[in-house]
Symmetry: C2
Subunit: 338 residues, 2 copies
């Protein structure tokens, strides 16, 4: 796959710089791989630091803003951010009330953020951690802590960011983040791979008329390879896995994310969303709100994921709270029209 880039070894730095220029009214670059909200640090507010490998844009960098994350820290493409960068992000946004780390549950990220937390502690900054493990295809319900993080972190960051804006203490922000995380389930499919900029190599190979169910955000092979299915058939398989896992019940109210992985058109995502809403209605599950778009990409991988978050009154209020970030915007004055 051809890419419109310069030196493949500079894609992370150049894209962070270019992304920040597009959203300079919301974010600022505070170090080579660290982007913070423009008005950080905010005294007396718990801060939220997110991060992970680059190459998934807009994922983590799109979450930085008002009512969302205070900073995002990057590694190379698909690689965890180094601990010193995590420390830099932590110090850049600490407002004296502690810092919550939210990131996907991958070995490299876990290790590096834990080291970053130790370094922060040495500097007198208290941190807590919420790892997101929403991918039901990557581990059994009993071993949920082995599961990978997918786009569920969008909901976790939205909820935690809203709580932090209320002036809540670190433990309270962590509590709602964990509640959002524990109420999220995601399932992903892929039709064709993305390619890694530095090598030009696809993340996996797959036959011309095949698709993968249960694929990971770095192109990790899925749990099942099948003939290409229709959108409606694929949604039925994906939703069944999600609904049985939490499990979701008749009468539940949910938020949805229909996430595209790169080259899947919004036309396709809309068709996926159509069947998702139909099936939820058939199951007696009420949809409160839907986020649809490319939030977590795997370069130009073709595929999508469906995420459900089960709501309660607290999560609903935090989900609707004001937010102003590249990826998610909530504006109560206009939202009241719904």
């Amino acid at each position: 796959m051809k890419k419109l880039i310069n030196d493949p070894l500079n894609v992370t730095d150049e894209s962070i710089e270019g992304f920040t220029k597009a959203y300079a009214h919301i974010i600022k670059q505070v170090a080579s791989r660290v982007v913070a909200r423009k008005d950080a640090p905010i005294e007396g507010k718990v801060s939220i630091v997110v991060g992970g490998g680059s190459g998934h844009e807009p994922e983590m960098i799109g979450f930085v803003g008002v009512g969302m994350a205070d900073a995002s820290v990057y590694g190379e493409v698909f690689a965890a951010p180094p601990p010193p960068s995590i420390l830099t992000a932590t110090k850049a946004v600490d407002g004296g009330k502690g810092v919550l780390y939210i990131y996907g549950n991958y070995a490299g990220d876990n290790m590096n953020f834990d080291m970053g937390a130790e370094m922060a502690a040495e500097e007198g900054i208290k941190t807590e951690t919420v790892r997101v493990w929403d991918d039901v295809a990557s581990g059994s319900p009993e071993n949920y802590k082995d599961r990978r993080g997918l786009i569920g972190d969008l909901f976790v960051v939205k909820v935690a960011g809203a709580k932090a804006e209320t002036g809540a203490v670190l433990d309270e922000v962590k509590r709602v983040a964990e509640k959002a995380r524990d109420n999220c389930r995601t399932f992903a499919v892929a039709l064709s791979p993305g390619t890694i900029p530095a090598t030009g190599e696809p993340t996996f190979t797959i036959g011309g008329n095949k698709m993968y169910f249960g694929v990971g955000a770095h192109g990790e092979k899925g749990v099942k390879k099948t003939e290409l299915k229709t959108a409606d058939e694929a949604v039925e398989i994906m939703l069944k896995a999600i609904l049985e896992d939490l499990p979701f019940h008749k009468g539940d109210e949910v938020c949805i994310i229909i996430n595209g992985y790169g080259s899947t058109t919004l036309m396709e995502l809309s068709i996926v969303n159509r069947r998702t809403h139909e099936l939820l209605e058939e199951n007696g599950i009420k949809v409160y709100h839907t986020e649809m778009g490319n939030f977590l990409t795997t370069q130009e991988m073709a595929g999508c994921s469906i995420t459900l978050m089960k709501l309660d009154d607290e999560l609903k209020e935090l989900y609707d709270a004001p937010a102003y970030s590249p990826t998610i915007n909530k504006y109560p004055a206009l939202l009241s029209k719904r």
Copy 2:
């Protein structure tokens, strides 16, 4: 290219339905191919109707909302909407103060919207038309009315929608729409084609290490085929064509659109945006705001376009006015932070 769809002949209808379900807090479907803002018709406000072929999502359907378009009307993939659908959209949103049609300058759209306008006139509804022809690669400056419309309509609809919200009369809304249109210039490139859902055929063929400059939004062949260039080299060629055309001068202030055509990653768009900002600064042109993302797609075509709109005080005020739509949101209360 594999697609996650059902019957290829139903993609337009199913995607409109699914898109509307995702944005049911903003839009409603009022006929099989017509989507209107949820609170339409609004008495005493000039209404704006946009439209074109489907397959470019989110393009026109994403423009429907508060401070934007009142309705969007669709044809099949890459085909103009039929006149009866245009009439349906017009009647659905007319608030007694007239309707402005805004759409890309293509023969089929021109003919069908003109017929729709005649049918509306027979029903006593006054209409005016603004055709968008921002693609500098598709005609000489003298024959600008032969030029194709690209994503410049995002700015034209934003400005016209804001003006309509003030209660302005039809001629005034048309005047600012034309001013925005006349101040916009776009140039597009493509690296690989999209495919048409109904046929599975690519919109063009191109060598493995080639790219097109000056490509159209339906995969119309570009004005120049070259070896694949770096992002920085491509931006230099694109911006030169744009800056010389209006022309833009030192001291001008502009808004930018960095548009992705489908499978070009946000990482690449960010790298394109980085060089765009650098070059504008070198030319003494000030950037007021940047919109970056997939706004007008050609299925999963790889490529992007750059649009500049030259601002004056009136355009700036209308650009910043409140908007609430799937694609563009402006919240003055939060924007004041910038």
